[in-house]
């Protein structure tokens, strides 16, 4: 003979509290995604801007065009060679041709075209900090050798770039704080709405002797469940987004050419998720508990 034992699950004290709130879960997911991407952006900025600034301080772009029968390619190669021999110059490299070179050269003030009408070529020059030739000296040196050139000293861009970095870092920090505040507001609002929708049951429970701490624990528990799910989904989406950005071949090539110090965004977001999850749960639990205690006061 077999004996069956019925396993009975007690119905929830307050209806609907055993499942996460869809609205809160979705809101937390979006907030977590934005917070993760915000942190990724801040980290990339913090790592790359100082390097960019340092590079700009000791670099220049030179647009070279051929004169007479000399082609732009030959003129650029000759300019790179001349500059490469100059004291204090670390490197002088002819950049790969690009359709944008015409616009870049025009922006630098070089409108001279070669005999074939070919666009000027760009040369990237890096000098030793404080030791290389100035922009004027480099231009004079090349013009002396019969080259039509325009020199853009990147140094003056260094200061504004650093200021821009500070502004962006501040904006990102502000955004993160705002997202935390929004999370607390959303969690509190969700608890208040849930209480409004269950007023009859709650007033009965209060009359039966339920302590407001017991009741608010139910709303806190629901906020924790919703936030755990939402934050996991949100940071998971951020990890995938960062991963797609880092590993998508064209994007990876584009990024690695411009941001050599780019950190692994996926790993960064995973780390952020590990920190964000308990923070978000703590904030949502606190906000829901506080809102519930306040809202339940009117019933008791």
């Amino acid at each position: 003979m077999t004996k069956t034992t019925e396993v009975r699950r007690a119905p929830p004290l307050i209806p609907g509290m055993a499942v996460p709130a869809p609205g809160l879960t979705l809101s937390v997911a979006v907030i977590s995604l934005l917070a993760s991407l915000d942190l990724t952006g801040a980290s990339v900025l913090a790592r790359t801007l100082p390097q960019w600034s340092e590079r700009l301080a000791g670099s220049a772009t030179i647009a070279a065009a051929g004169r007479d029968l000399e082609s732009a390619d030959a003129a650029a190669a000759r300019a790179a060679e001349i500059l490469g021999r100059a004291p204090g110059v670390l490197s002088a490299r002819v950049l790969d041709p690009s359709p944008m070179d015409v616009l870049a050269a025009r922006a630098l003030g070089l409108t001279v075209g070669g005999p074939s009408g070919a666009p000027p070529r760009l040369i990237a020059v890096t000098v030793r900090g404080g030791g290389g030739p100035t922009a004027d000296q480099a231009a004079g040196l090349l013009r002396h050798d019969g080259l039509a050139v325009a020199v853009d000293d990147h140094g003056p861009w260094s200061g504004p770039l650093e200021r821009l970095g500070a502004v962006l870092a501040g904006a990102m920090a502000l955004l993160l704080i705002s997202l935390v505040a929004i999370l607390a507001t959303v969690a509190g609002g969700s608890a208040r709405r849930a209480i409004r929708g269950r007023r009859d049951r709650l007033s009965l429970l209060v009359q039966l002797g339920a302590a407001s701490a017991t009741l608010s624990r139910q709303f806190r528990g629901r906020a924790i469940a919703s936030t755990t799910l939402g934050a996991t989904l949100g940071t998971g989406a951020a990890v995938l987004a960062a991963g797609a950005l880092a590993f998508d071949p064209p994007a990876a090539i584009w990024l690695s050419a411009r941001l050599p110090a780019m950190p692994q965004p996926m790993a960064l977001d995973v780390l952020f998720g590990a920190l964000w999850l308990p923070l978000a749960i703590g904030i949502a639990a606190w906000a829901a508990h506080r809102a519930a205690r306040t809202a339940l006061r009117s019933l008791s």
Partner: protein, 238 residues
């Protein structure tokens, strides 16, 4: 329906200290103006009846004692505590010492008879499991032993009232408050209430039935409004 006193209801064996008065009202009034004030005392183990017609404020007085509404003036003491001086956190433990049978039973429609009782246990912050026997015993006491899985909507009016009474006493209250037990099936409820009072639980009951108040032998406090009096042929009239 079982008439055997059930263990859970027996208050005579309690070892807890007993206050000199379970309820004490001193010139208490529900509204600030017009209506008169009320003074009475319910001693431990006693039964007390509030007699008044419709709209006389019986329910409001009961709600005031059950801390569902504050008194407009006067003093209300419950188990020796002045309700005006209670902090919000002091109220739930006192409410747990009261079993309230509302005029409308206020049962949870989606929960079975058994789960309605279990809800009251859990609302009081207790675990359900140790109360399993009490729940069965009380459902049998009110005559719902075989209908424990019924939803309140599947029970008749009397069944719902009995269930409401069982829920009121599941947490072994020190005072049972009943609002208008008269009506369909009232005799069965009144017998259960008599059992309860005999087992030592103080009763505070509101009714418009003067005959019931007279027959009960309990202390009666009269409120305003026309009450129902018995006619010579036994019918009730307001």
């Amino acid at each position: 329906m079982s008439r055997t006193p059930v263990k859970v209801l027996n208050k005579t064996e309690t070892s807890e200290p007993v206050e000199s008065a379970v309820v004490r009202l001193l010139r208490a009034a529900v509204t600030a103006g017009g209506a008169g004030s009320l003074s009475f005392v319910v001693p431990p183990g006693a039964a007390h009846i509030l007699l008044g017609g419709p709209g006389s404020g019986k329910t409001a007085v009961l709600e005031m004692i059950a801390m569902a509404r504050p008194p407009a003036r006067g003093g209300v003491e419950l188990f020796g505590r002045d309700l005006a001086r209670l902090r919000p956190d002091d109220r739930p433990p006192l409410r747990r010492r009261i079993g309230m049978v509302f005029q409308q039973p206020r049962l949870v429609g989606e929960l079975s008879a058994r789960d309605n009782l279990a809800l009251a246990v859990r609302a009081a912050g207790r675990h359900e499991a140790p109360f399993e026997t009490d729940i069965k015993e009380l459902l049998a006491w009110v005559g719902l032993g075989r209908r424990s899985h019924f939803l309140p909507g599947d029970l008749d009016v009397e069944g719902r009232r009995r269930l409401a009474l069982a829920r009121a006493v599941i947490n072994r209250p020190d005072l049972v408050i009943v609002d208008e037990p008269a009506g369909e099936g009232s005799m069965a409820i009144l017998r259960l209430l008599a059992d309860l009072n005999q087992a030592g639980t103080p009763l505070l009951m509101a009714t418009r039935d003067e005959d019931l108040a007279g027959r009960s032998g309990a202390e009666v406090s009269r409120l305003g409004g026309a009450v129902e009096s018995p006619t010579p042929n036994g019918e009730q009239q307001s």
